[in-house]
Amino acid sequence: MNITDQSIDRNANSPEQNTLLTTDVPVDTAIDIQNLSKHYTDVVALDNISLSIKDKEFFTLLGPSGCGKTTLLRIIAGFESVSAGKVFLHGKSIADLPANKRPINTVFQQYSLFPHMSVADNIKFGMQMKGSSASHINQRCEQMLALVQLSDYATRKPSQLSGGQAQRVALARALAPEPEVLLLDEPLSALDLKLRQAMRLELKQIQQETGITFIFVTHDQEEALTMSDRIAVMSAGKIQQIGSAHTIYEKPQNRFVADFIGETNMLESTVTQVIDSKGSSNALVCELTGLGQITASSSADIAPGTTGSVCIRPEHISILETAHNESQLKGTLEQLVYMGTDTQATIRLTNGASLLVRSPNSAAQKITAQPGDTVGIGTDENAARFLID
């Protein structure tokens, strides 16, 4: 289906047209976004984005503020029009459907509970608008209150709730009408750390219990890593990488992803040899400028002579007290910082670059070297990753 650059007029709201605009995506796809762009007068908020979100998936849009993740969420919700591209919900185009006709509900960042209604009335609102029967509404409302553990709070007003309680009411209100997709716009950002951590697990559990597709927007990588089935890392209106938490963290596709998720070391290097090329997983030998050689993996096809960076996570580096062989990387230990579960070390490499090392404080791996010592540097197998600049 060729739909590139086809602009959509949201005012032309014709239901007949919607059923025709179906796509040949697999049935287990909840949301399918094709070549979506959103321009404001002089800013490109979303630049030709394509992605599909599976049914019952916990999908996270992760990125720094201004990357377009909230715009994308608002487009799916129906609060923003698209400049170009298509959005499908279970195979049906929803681009022309106004927000109140989409079987998609949202948990808003500031909760947006109706202040003049009780907790129960807030939860019932969506079901009443859908025209559900009164008995169903009451039953479902109680069920939702139980789900978020607020059964005793049905008659309270939103102003009488704590942040965490308001957050759970917002979740119950959005889940009550049984949406096909639930959108969550940084719902935990207004909570304090302890509550945020508890809510992560609770959210994940509720998602699994209800079996509803969750699309979660956050700038907090820890949130994304702990909850998501898959994560889309976004930057500057583009998707940088889509994958599981493990893939995103261990096999970043580019410098942005490697840099944004967790801590990392970037070392300038040139590819000298391609050992093994298997399409998405290639083994390379890289010359680290001024340091020596290292084997690294890459997900893209790369020719010898390509320049870029080798990225190594600090926890995949170990400090060796003595140099085992000539080819090994060496440096001077500059600083040791005790951080409870682990110790963070800064090493000045022989080419002048600084290397961050994180080593667990277990008896077996405890660093014995002192600042000023010359140390050898070992890396875990497959820890180094070559990224084109």
């Binding site: 927000a99 109140n100 947006s112 509970l113 109706f114 202040p115 859908k130 959005a174």
Partner: protein, 311 residues
């Protein structure tokens, strides 16, 4: 009529002045001015209404209930017949209330969309719109009302244009009708409706209407169930600010309504004019108007505190 709008504001704003003792001193000049120019005239009116009338205006310092008796009862030409209820003045009050009510509704129907429009403009352009709303107030109310009288005359510009455009065959008779009075009141007090409603819509969190749309509510339902309940205080304030001065209005009914559409303002004015007046009766009429207004405000305040308690 100034006295009423002042006392009414005291009722609307909950006075929680108990715990800023120091800052209370800042209010002292205002209290003194309002106290002097509000309390003294109202007390004078109260006293005058219980005095005996002097035939060429003024009062005789002799206690009498004659003014109130004259307002409610008819005892015949010479005052010697059995008392029966006199509807003359009660009718004037009823008509005034009806005119004020219609003017208030007109202001609400036209003022609410206006206020909504202004409140949903970009923040930068809102002051300009508010400014435009207040422009008519640069011209004196008397001049505006007289010019309105000129515009809607049978052979005035409005009728001339409508005739020339072929929209009407005969001039519309507007002057000295109820409609003219309602239009005049509407025109005089529209900003009093727009500004408080604007202030409350501006404070409305429009993410709530997004939330309502997200939960399958149509625009109309969102307006009725989410926006209106939350901007209700502004609407009520606007209605009071239009209704109360409309009820006792003098200029619009006098200039546009003519003798047939006599309203409270004109009735009171006549009692103090020239030699034919009746000061105690004018004072009693004023006191009755004041009591009606205070009752309206009391009912409103009581409803409000009930609603607060239920929350």
């Amino acid at each position: 009529m100034k006295s009423q709008s002042n006392s009414q504001q005291n009722n609307i704003v909950p006075a929680n002045a108990t715990f800023h003792n120091q800052k209370n001193k800042l209010l002292l000049p205002a209290w003194l001015v309002i106290g002097f120019f509000l309390v003294v005239p109202v007390l004078m009116m109260l006293v005058y209404s219980f005095l005996t009338k002097e035939f060429r205006g003024g009062v005789i310092w002799e206690f009498s209930l004659a003014a109130y008796d004259q307002f409610f009862f008819d005892r015949g030409l010479f005052g010697d017949e059995p008392a029966k209820i006199d509807w003359t003045y009660i009718k004037i009050y009823g008509r005034s209330a009806l005119q004020a009510l219609i003017a208030t509704l007109l202001c609400l129907v036209i003022g609410f969309p206006t206020a909504y429009y202004i409140a949903t403009r970009p923040v930068r352009s809102r002051p300009l719109w508010v400014f435009l709303i207040t422009i008519p107030y640069w011209v004196n109310l008397l001049i505006r009302t007289v010019s309105m009288k000129f515009l809607i005359r049978d052979n005035g510009p409005l009728n001339t244009w409508l005739l020339q455009a072929g929209i009407i065959d005969q001039p519309i008779h507007l002057i000295n009708t109820n409609l003219a009075v309602q239009l005049g009141l509407f025109y005089s007090y529209l900003p009093f409706m727009v500004l408080p409603i604007y202030a409350s819509i501006e404070r409305f969190d429009f993410s709530l209407s997004e939330a309502a749309a997200d939960l399958y509510a149509s625009r109309w339902t969102t307006l009725r169930q989410i926006i209106l309940p939350m901007v209700k205080p502004g609407i009520i304030a606007g209605c009071i600010l239009v209704f109360v001065p409309s009820l006792g209005a003098f200029l619009a009914p006098d200039l546009l309504g003519g003798a047939k559409n006599f309203m409270i303002g004109s009735l009171i004015e006549e009692q103090f004019k020239g030699n034919a007046g009746n000061w105690p009766f004018g004072a009693a009429s004023s006191m009755i108007l004041l009591i009606i207004v205070l009752l309206v405000l009391l009912i409103y305040a009581r409803n409000e505190s009930h609603a607060q308690g239920a929350r």
